[in-house]
């Protein structure tokens, strides 16, 4: 399938507040992202970056406008369909790594394969391959709790990439890491996603990291503007 992997058309998102008031977080957001390209999203705290990512992943619904994931309109899909679409097309990376402490690293990486019901051996092989690519192959069977932050985020990256999703979403993936580890993770994120031919949308507070993307967009007062460096 060709065409953009992700497309926002005049997307609004408002949250109801106490009383009859509403908080408009996103207004008329328009943009699209192609496979194999990267897009950095910047903006002040509270500007709606995470909300935008939630909409892209189909875990939140716009109040107006359309979100198209790989050409499929997410708006009217029932929850189960959206879950399945997310499972097959989206990989997510978070600021907090969200690894399950009672599982080994390998098992953490395998999780999306398990959820999808993929072949266990194939999943395992793929997980080992990814861990190898982030230089953690030798620690695959350790419990996740024993790793450093950078290592954890690398494991989380493998988890997101396990099922070769065409879209990768990352919300401040380096927000919890020191500079060096952050740079390493960022490099991996860009390299792996382009290796896999996936579209990458990431949120960052760092000018430096934003500059690594093919394109940079800024959110201000709920509106999208292209960022001048």
């Amino acid at each position: 399938m060709t065409g953009p992997i992700l497309q926002f058309e005049a997307v609004d998102r408002a949250f109801p507040l106490a009383g009859d008031r509403r908080r408009h977080v996103l207004r008329g957001v328009d943009f699209s992202l192609d496979r194999g390209t990267s897009l950095a999203m910047v903006g002040r705290s509270g500007s709606g970056k995470s909300t935008l990512l939630h909409l892209a992943a189909g875990i939140d619904q716009p109040t107006a406008g359309t979100v198209l994931l790989d050409g499929v309109r997410l708006n009217d899909l029932p929850d189960t369909e959206r879950s399945l679409l997310r499972r097959d097309r989206v990989g997510l990376v978070f600021q907090f790594f969200h690894l399950l402490p009672h599982l080994s690293m390998l098992e953490n990486v395998c999780l999306p394969g398990w959820v999808a019901g993929d072949s266990a051996t194939a999943t395992r092989a793929r997980a080992r391959e990814l861990l190898d690519r982030v230089d953690l192959a030798d620690r695959a069977d350790d419990l996740a709790g024993k790793l450093s932050g950078g290592e954890m985020q690398r494991v989380a990256l493998c988890r997101a990439l396990l099922r070769r999703p065409p879209l990768l979403l990352a919300d401040e993936p380096t927000g919890n890491l020191d500079e060096k580890a952050g740079r390493q993770v960022m490099d991996l994120l860009l390299r792996l996603s382009s290796d896999e031919g996936a579209g990458l949308l990431y949120v960052t507070h760092s000018r430096e990291q934003a500059a690594l993307a093919d394109r940079v967009l800024r959110l201000r007062d709920g509106r999208l503007e292209s960022a001048q460096s």
Binding site: H54, A57, I59, D60, D79, T80, S83, L84, L85, R86, R87, D88, V90, L92, F94, F96, F97, H98, L99, L100, P101, H102, L103, E107, L111, P112, W114, V115, A116, G117, A120, A144, G145, L147, M152, R159
Partner: protein, 854 residues
């Protein structure tokens, strides 16, 4: 207490509504099971006391015989005592109402000319309804009785109506002469009471010159106990003089083992309830640890925090108690009939017709509910209060401590087990309660081993997919929640399985025993036989007719009565006589535990010796060759024990003697039951039909071998019916625990669930994961409980039964029962998981904001 602190706490519990409800419900069920059992226990005793009060009124002393009755010629001796101001004889007999299934009435004959100090004097018109003038007919109208209005109404009788009762094999027509409300003076008395003239009663039901008791009134200001001693001396060893308190004590003693067992059982529910509280409080405190950290950093003292937590728990405990009291009382009412049936069929006590909630029991319920709740809350509360505010505010939680503590807890468990064993083997077993002590500590050790077992079993399961194995692995990762649920379930299942094994084994043993002992073809008794212990018997011509009936090859005649050993132990004495075919053995069909069958048979016939039942041998420490001393109207008679036999009819013990021996001790008396063996080739069914025709007009009951066996098994099942409700209550509490744990887990790991959603798991998948966790808890609790139950069954059968009852029970596996219980437990656990799983499946993926995960 700072009101703002309190308001914050209340807000929390309101928010966590399900958690609160489950906690309160857990306490309520624990309280309910205690209240239920204690109400029934009290009801049983109160029924006896009420019956005593209705019949004996405010008599200070009662003279009873050893055996079924007393010589009325002792009357002058009683009256002659200088401190006795009044005494009156009573004749008592049980009648069975003709035309009513299983309706009995106690008929009491009183002497109207004696200075009877009755609760309601027959001539007292104030309490009587109906035609008062009819009291004049008391003496000369045959069959004149006074009935309670309640029972008369129930039977559809009015003053002047007649009705028929069967006493032994006699049918007697009685006339409702007056309606008198005895219950007004003795509210707990049975309504099934009838009063009539003593000489008429003697003539109709009793035996010339015999009475059941003398009630005695002593001179005001003199201690009845002192008079009792003097009277006892005058009357000699043939009679016993008892105060009302002693009589109540005797009844209580009779029921002691029965009551203790039920009480112990009900305490298990409390134990499981304490687990539930522990788990709920712990979870709520973990969730609110920041809140407490904040309170502490704002200047609240440790004691204030501790006080706040305990106060909260106390409120929950009281709410649970308030709910549990009526629940328990309702459960008691629901079980009144079966327990009452046990009282009458096994212990031959009065049935329970009404119950009340004694104020003391309300206090006990509060202590149990409040105490249990506080006990459950104490450890987690102390833990929170002890901590530094910094630790509480920090991100690092308490959760994983239990995983590290697991080996140490298990070690403590081993230590406790070892200590208890050392105590037991080193002399503890001499105590009668030692079996209960072992059982209690089993229930303590099991939970101590649970965390380690969980960690080392399910904690090592490779997930390999998004299914039940991942769920199980997850259980091990939340030991601090799951351990409690599994432990509570394991304790409950242990109890279920232990008791099921006990009952199943006992039942199988009884079944075998019945097969060996009930071998005659037809059993004949009088209609009121079940309530009677030797006061009445079959007419001689009835017995002759049976023995000589066409088709009957042999007949075993049985006379029975109840008396005491010289040590005061209550025993049933059963005497046999064989008529007809002399080839077969008579008494030795009782399977022998000790003694040689031939010798036992020969000596029983020839000498004044006894074969005793196993419980009596064990409880009284008697062996073959020892001497048993039985009290009788002529004093104490020594009987050499020639054999010990298996017998499951009475926990108090049975003494088998020849009829001649019994006659020598208690004087002449008739036969209560006859067992007929058919001649070869004769069909018992046909003979029974012919007998029915021949016996027309006599109130006898004919039972086929098959029917008698079925009745015995029914009585057995009835006895254990009340345990079923206790088992059910404990199971419900444990299932609440499963629900609670899963809810807590769902909340504690909202981020984990949100992660699954982000990865693309559907709600359905999360729901199924939740269910499989419930099932996992169920399987784990079941597995651990089966092991615990097997041990508990051994304690119950080998120790508690031996010390309290003394039966030989052979182990049997009631497979079907156990499988069903397993199905129920698993089903319960899965059902308990439905709501939490539903809640978990609704976790929004956007919850991924917290940092609980790495």
């Amino acid at each position: 207490m700072n009101p703002r602190l309190l308001r914050a706490a209340l807000a929390h519990w309101r928010q966590a509504r399900t958690l609160t409800l489950l906690t309160v419900f857990g306490v309520a069920l624990g309280v309910a099971s205690v209240v239920c059992i204690q109400t029934l226990n009290q009801g049983a005793l109160a029924a006896f006391g009420g019956g005593m009060k209705a019949v004996s009124g405010d008599a200070d002393l009662t003279v009873l015989g050893h055996g079924p009755d007393l010589d009325e010629n002792l009357y002058p001796t009683v009256l002659a005592h200088p401190d006795v101001t009044a005494a009156w004889p009573l004749v008592r007999a049980w009648g069975r109402l003709a035309g009513h299934e299983d309706a009995y009435i106690e008929i009491v004959g009183v002497d109207v000319f004696a200075p009877v100090r009755f609760p309601v004097r027959l001539g007292d018109a104030g309490h009587a309804t109906g035609d008062v003038t009819r009291f004049a007919d008391l003496l000369h109208v045959p069959g004149w009785v006074a009935l309670t209005p309640a029972y008369a109404e129930e039977l559809g009788l009015a003053a002047g109506d007649t009705f028929t009762v069967a006493v032994a094999d006699r049918l007697v027509t009685l006339e409702v002469g007056a309606l008198v409300d005895f219950q007004r003076a003795a509210p707990l008395a049975s309504r099934k009471l009838a009063l009539m003239d003593i000489s008429q009663a003697q003539h109709l039901f009793g035996h010339r010159g015999r009475v059941q008791q003398f009630d005695v009134q002593v001179r005001p200001g003199v201690a009845p106990e002192a008079v009792a001693a003097g009277l006892q001396e005058r009357l000699g060893p043939g009679a016993q003089v008892l105060t009302p308190a002693q009589r109540e004590q005797n009844a209580a003693g009779l029921l002691a083992a029965f009551r203790l067992n039920l009480t112990a059982l009900s305490l298990i529910s409390v134990l499981v309830g304490v687990f539930l509280i522990f788990s709920a409080v712990h979870a709520s405190l973990v969730r609110r640890r920041r809140e407490f950290g904040l309170l502490r950093s704002l200047g609240a003292s440790r004691r204030q925090v501790l006080g706040l937590i305990l106060l909260e728990t106390a409120v929950l405990g009281l709410a649970g108690t308030a709910l549990g009291l009526p629940l328990g009382y309702a459960a008691a009412l629901l079980n009144m009939e079966t327990v009452s049936a046990t009282l009458t069929s096994i212990y031959l006590l009065s049935e329970i017709e009404q119950m009340h909630l004694p104020p003391l029991l309300v206090a006990v319920a509060v202590v149990v509910g409040l105490g249990g709740a506080l006990l459950g809350a104490l450890l987690p509360a102390l833990d929170i209060a002890r901590r530094d505010p910094v630790v509480l505010l920090g991100a690092a939680g308490l959760p994983e401590r239990l995983s590290r503590l697991a080996p140490r807890l298990a070690l403590v468990g081993v230590g406790v087990a070892a200590a208890v064993m050392v105590w037991y083997l080193g002399g503890g077993r001499a105590y009668k309660v030692s079996g209960f002590v072992l059982a209690f500590f089993l229930m303590v050790v099991l939970p101590l081993w649970t965390p380690l077992l969980l960690r080392e079993t399910v904690g090592r399961i490779p997930p390999g997919g998004f299914g039940w194995r991942l769920g199980l692995r997850g259980l091990a990762s939340r030991l601090q929640s799951t351990s409690f649920a599994v432990a509570a379930l394991a304790v409950t299942v242990s109890m279920l399985v232990g008791i099921t094994l006990l009952i199943g084994s006992f039942r199988a043993t009884l079944d075998t025993w019945i097969g060996q002992t009930l071998v005659a073809d037809i059993y004949v008794t009088g209609a009121s036989w079940q309530r009677d212990l030797g006061q009445t018997w079959l007419a001689d011509d009835t017995v002759d007719l049976l023995v000589e009936f066409d088709g009957v090859a042999a007949a075993d005649l049985q006379r029975r009565l109840e008396t005491r050993t010289d040590q005061g132990r209550r025993v049933r004495v059963v005497a046999f006589e064989r008529r007809g075919d002399a080839q077969r053995r008579k008494i030795s069909r009782v399977p022998l535990l000790a003694g040689d069958a031939e010798t036992v048979e020969r000596r029983l016939l020839a000498e004044s010796v006894a074969l005793i039942s196993e419980p009596l041998a064990r409880q009284a420490g008697l062996d073959v060759g020892d001497t048993l001393r039985l009290r009788g109207p002529h004093g104490t008679t020594p009987l050499a024990v020639v054999g010990i036999g298996y017998d499951y009819a009475s926990e108090n013990g049975v003494v088998f003697v020849s009829r001649a021996t019994l006659e020598g001790m208690f004087g002449p008396g008739g036969v209560a039951a006859v067992a007929l063996t058919m001649a070869p080739g004769r069909d018992p069914g046909a003979v029974m039909d012919a007998l029915r025709v021949a016996l027309d007009g006599r109130a006898v009951e004919l039972r086929s071998n098959q029917r008698l066996r079925a009745e015995v098994m029914d009585i057995f099942d009835q006895t254990f019916a009340v345990t079923r409700i206790l088992q059910a209550m404990a199971l419900v509490i444990a299932v609440c625990g499963v629900s609670l744990t899963l809810l807590i887990m769902g909340r504690e790991r909202a981020t984990e669930l949100a992660l699954y959603r982000c990865i693309g798991a559907t709600r359905g998948q999360l729901f199924r994961l939740g269910l499989s966790e419930g099932a996992g808890l169920g399987v784990l609790g079941l597995a651990l409980g089966l092991a615990g139950g097997a041990v508990l069954a051994m304690i119950l059968i080998l120790l508690i039964n031996r010390d309290w009852f003394g039966w030989t029970i052979r182990f049997a596996l009631p497979t079907a029962d156990l499988v069903w219980q397993g199905v129920w437990i698993l089903g319960g656990a899965v059902a308990a998981a439905v709501y939490p799983a539903l809640r978990a499946s609704r976790t929004p993926a956007t919850e991924l904001t917290r940092e609980d995960l790495l």
